[in-house]
């Protein structure tokens, strides 16, 4: 077995095409992804919006307090903006790291305010392209705040690319205004229904509180790490890269089968059991595949700066588990008795490309397809190695607990066992019967 291990290791390390598809291809693809998605995350960043405030007779101190809070540079304002450090003191170390990494998306103020006395002035200023104003904030007679955005701002938030980065700020502002208006309506309703409530100290204290303070909103951290929309694509890429490594196992097994080559015939006649030869080839293929994927993971993490939740050790383990499964799948494909080696290698590429489609590699459509499969046909997602390998990294990034990661490792281990058992059954039955 050791000799088969050594010879497989040597042959694979001296096969340029295998090294290209296992090592260079994922790195090249990751570089392309990095170039394409480099600014993708800015869509989720906040930046200050240029707002015109109509300070007319409807504009009260309550509205002014809100605008002051949103245009302030102090930390309470950033808290409200939704991308601030967690207030949960029990947050673990991983969350601390997440906070550190999220600093690039922190905004010091949501609004740059210009006050005007009337709505007519505000509209004039908004339609003046040179002024650079993006929206109008005004209050009606009931004290309800409304937002009017310019055509240019509307077009910007509905487009893709660099110019769309105001979309998230608009969404956040819209949420804050809605919350403010609902609070006002709720207070008005309470006072109308029960005027005596005004005599209650707790109620008056509530009224005196900041309209946007912690009494009404609090940021909670639901995930281990700040969501990174780009990371999913890189994880799907790693899933594909893992599947691409299985061609090593395909070749290794095919070279032991007597009905494919004279080399296979000669090895079949050796006084060493086929299973031991397959086992040696399997271990060598797994080693080469794991190291290849580790190179890919390292490049994605450090070259492309894609987060793995501060659990790099887990990513290394994920690479080992992922390649165990793909090597087992390669062994199964290699054991197919009727197909030639060329057919098997083509099958290998086809399987990698197809399964990667369902794990979301090929853009937003594929991501939606992947999500739809997970929601509506979870069994299909469960048996898709590419999806499970993608999940491995996803589990590391998003979950505080390691249980989901361990569960995905378990799924992959079961898959690997099934593939190996099937391959063994096929290899035991295969005879040199093509002649």
């Amino acid at each position: 077995m050791f000799q088969s291990f050594l010879v497989t290791l040597r042959t694979q390390l001296r096969t340029p095409s295998l090294l290209f598809w296992s090592v260079a291809f994922p790195v090249i693809l990751a570089t392309m992804f990095h170039g394409m998605f480099g600014d993708f995350g800015s869509f989720y960043n906040l930046r200050p919006l240029n707002a015109i405030v109509v300070a007319d007779s409807n504009w009260t101190s309550a509205q002014q307090a809100l605008v002051d809070a949103l245009s302030s540079n102090d930390s309470s304002a950033t808290d409200t903006a939704g991308s601030a450090p967690s207030t949960d003191e029990s947050t673990d170390e991983a969350t601390d790291e997440a906070t550190d990494e999220s600093s690039s998306t922190t905004v010091s103020a949501l609004l740059n305010v210009t006050e005007v006395p009337t709505m007519a002035d505000a509209r004039r200023l908004l339609f003046d392209a040179g002024a650079g104003e993006e929206l109008i904030l005004a209050a009606d007679a009931d004290g309800t705040l409304s937002m009017t955005i310019s055509d240019a701002t509307f077009a910007s938030i509905n487009s893709t690319g660099e110019s769309s980065d105001g979309g998230m700020a608009i969404s956040v502002l819209d949420g804050i205004l809605g919350m403010f208006n609902r609070r006002n309506v709720a207070i008005a309703d309470i006072v109308a229904a029960n005027p005596a409530a005004l005599a209650s100290p707790s109620f008056t204290a509530l009224l005196a509180a900041s309209p946007v303070g912690e009494s009404l909103t609090r940021q909670v951290t639901l995930t281990n790490f700040q969501p990174d929309p780009v990371a999913r694509y890189f994880y799907a890429l790693l899933g594909m890269a893992a599947l691409m490594t299985m061609s090593g196992a395909v070749v290794s097994v095919s070279r032991i089968q007597a009905n494919f080559s004279a080399l296979g015939m000669r090895r079949s006649l050796a006084p060493v059991s086929k299973i031991r030869q397959v086992a040696g080839g399997f271990l060598a293929s797994w080693l080469v595949a794991a190291v290849s994927l580790l190179v890919g993971v390292a490049y994605v993490r450090y070259g492309c700066d894609v987060p793995i939740g501060g659990r790099e050790w887990g990513a290394a383990l994920a690479a080992v588990m992922a390649t165990l499964t793909t090597t087992a799948l390669g062994t199964l494909l290699g054991a197919l008795p009727r197909a030639s080696l060329a057919v098997k290698e083509s099958l290998c590429s086809a399987v990698a490309c197809l399964l990667s489609l369902f794990s979301g590699l090929y853009g937003s459509f594929a991501m939606e397809l992947s999500d739809a499969i997970i929601r509506h046909a979870p069994l299909l997602a469960l048996v898709n190695p590419a999806q499970q390998i993608t999940n491995l990294f996803y589990d590391l990034l998003y979950y505080d607990s390691l249980v989901p990661f361990a569960r995905t490792c378990g799924v992959l281990a079961v898959m690997a066992a099934v593939f190996v058992v099937l391959a063994s059954l096929i290899l035991r039955r295969t005879r040199h019967d093509h002649l």
């Binding site: 000799q3 010879v7 040597r10 042959t11 001296r14 096969t15 007597a258 080559s261 004279a262 080399l263 015939m265 000669r266 090895r267 079949s268 006649l269 050796a270 006084p271 060493v272 059991s273 086929k274 005879r431 040199h432 019967d433 002649l435």
Partner: protein
């Protein structure tokens, strides 16, 4: 069918071997006995069942009926003791393209020999035996066709097997390499190995084989030594004489051909415009008889060749001249 040999110490014994592929009978009660220490030639046209028979003997194929023993044992996939005594040199070069000469031979040796020191010695011997000492670090793609064949042989014989199967080992090699390979095979035989040799080159089989079995349609057609096989068929001496005069004198040509055909020793006579081709039957040399006819009829003649029957003649007579797949 004529069998002219008897079994002594048997290396391979095949009796009543039947192998079917669907409706097609690949081996039809094949009989085969290979004696220890001999070079045994297995001949047959394409599709005659040679390779199927060898694969059945090697345990690579199951078969429908019959018995096969190698050194008195059945060669099953797990009979490792017996497998260690067997070497195979397949027709296609069966080596790793990614490994160099030494690594290839070392790997195949390691499949048979556990002891590292002994392995090293055997690998050196094998390299020397096939004359690849100057190419130890070369990979197969850097070797010529002949050198590749020699590497293929080295990988098959490195563990010093008692029984070696050579399946057309000289295909597509130059005469020098072919000679080296044939001499090597004879040397292995002198060192005690039993050789089973299949080839389409009849002169090679004539040159190195002690006994030859010709099979066709999965059956044994003939078995014996080279001379025994030649005596089995009617083909005898073939005499070719340059007689350009016969091309311009139709009457003389008809008289010459008529006289020759009347001779009891002559089986067939043809004239191709310059040469008279006389195929004689079995027996002694008939050159004098043919020359006497030409002299009697005053036919001027030039170059004359007389060739005794060859294994090729025997093969064609026994298996026919129709093209095979």
């Amino acid at each position: 069918m004529v069998t002219m040999t008897t079994t002594t110490t048997t290396a391979v014994h095949v009796a009543g071997l039947v192998k079917r592929y669907g409706e097609r009978m690949a081996l039809d009660h094949l009989e085969l006995d290979i004696r220890e220490g001999e070079v045994f030639g297995l001949l047959g046209p394409n599709g005659s069942g040679k390779t199927t028979a060898i694969n059945c003997i090697l345990g690579l194929l199951t078969y429908d009926a019959g018995t096969i023993t190698v050194f008195g044992e059945q060669l099953t996939p797990s009979n490792y003791g017996l497998k260690r005594r067997i070497g195979v040199v397949p027709q296609d070069v069966a080596v790793f393209e990614e490994l160099n000469v030494t690594e290839n031979i070392m790997y195949f040796c390691s499949l048979h020999i556990a002891d590292k020191k002994r392995r090293k010695l055997l690998v050196e011997d094998a390299i020397e035996f096939v004359g690849l000492g100057d190419y130890r670090k070369n990979r197969p793609k850097q070797l010529s066709g002949g050198l590749k064949r020699r590497l293929n042989i080295a990988c098959g014989i490195v563990h010093r097997p008692d029984l070696i199967f050579f399946d057309e080992p000289t295909v597509a090699v130059d005469p020098q390499s072919r000679n080296a390979i044939l001499e090597g095979i004879q040397q292995l035989n002198r060192d005690g190995a039993t050789i089973v040799y299949t080839s389409h080159y009849m002169e090679e089989v004539e040159q190195i084989c002690d006994r030859i079995e010709i099979i066709d349609h999965g059956r044994k057609i003939a078995l014996g030594t080279d001379d025994e096989l030649k005596r089995m068929v009617d083909a005898g001496e073939r005499i070719v004489v340059e007689t350009p005069a016969l091309a311009i004198d139709d009457g003389l040509r008809d008289r010459v051909i008529g006289r020759l055909r009347d001779l009891p020793e002559v089986a067939a006579v043809t004239f191709d415009g310059t040469q008279l081709d006389v195929q004689c039957g079995r027996g002694e040399s008939n050159t004098v008889v043919v020359l006497t006819v030409l002299t009697d009829l005053n036919v001027p003649f030039g170059h004359l060749t007389s060739r005794p029957p060859t294994l090729n003649d025997v093969f064609l007579e026994l298996t026919g001249t129709a093209l095979r797949d």
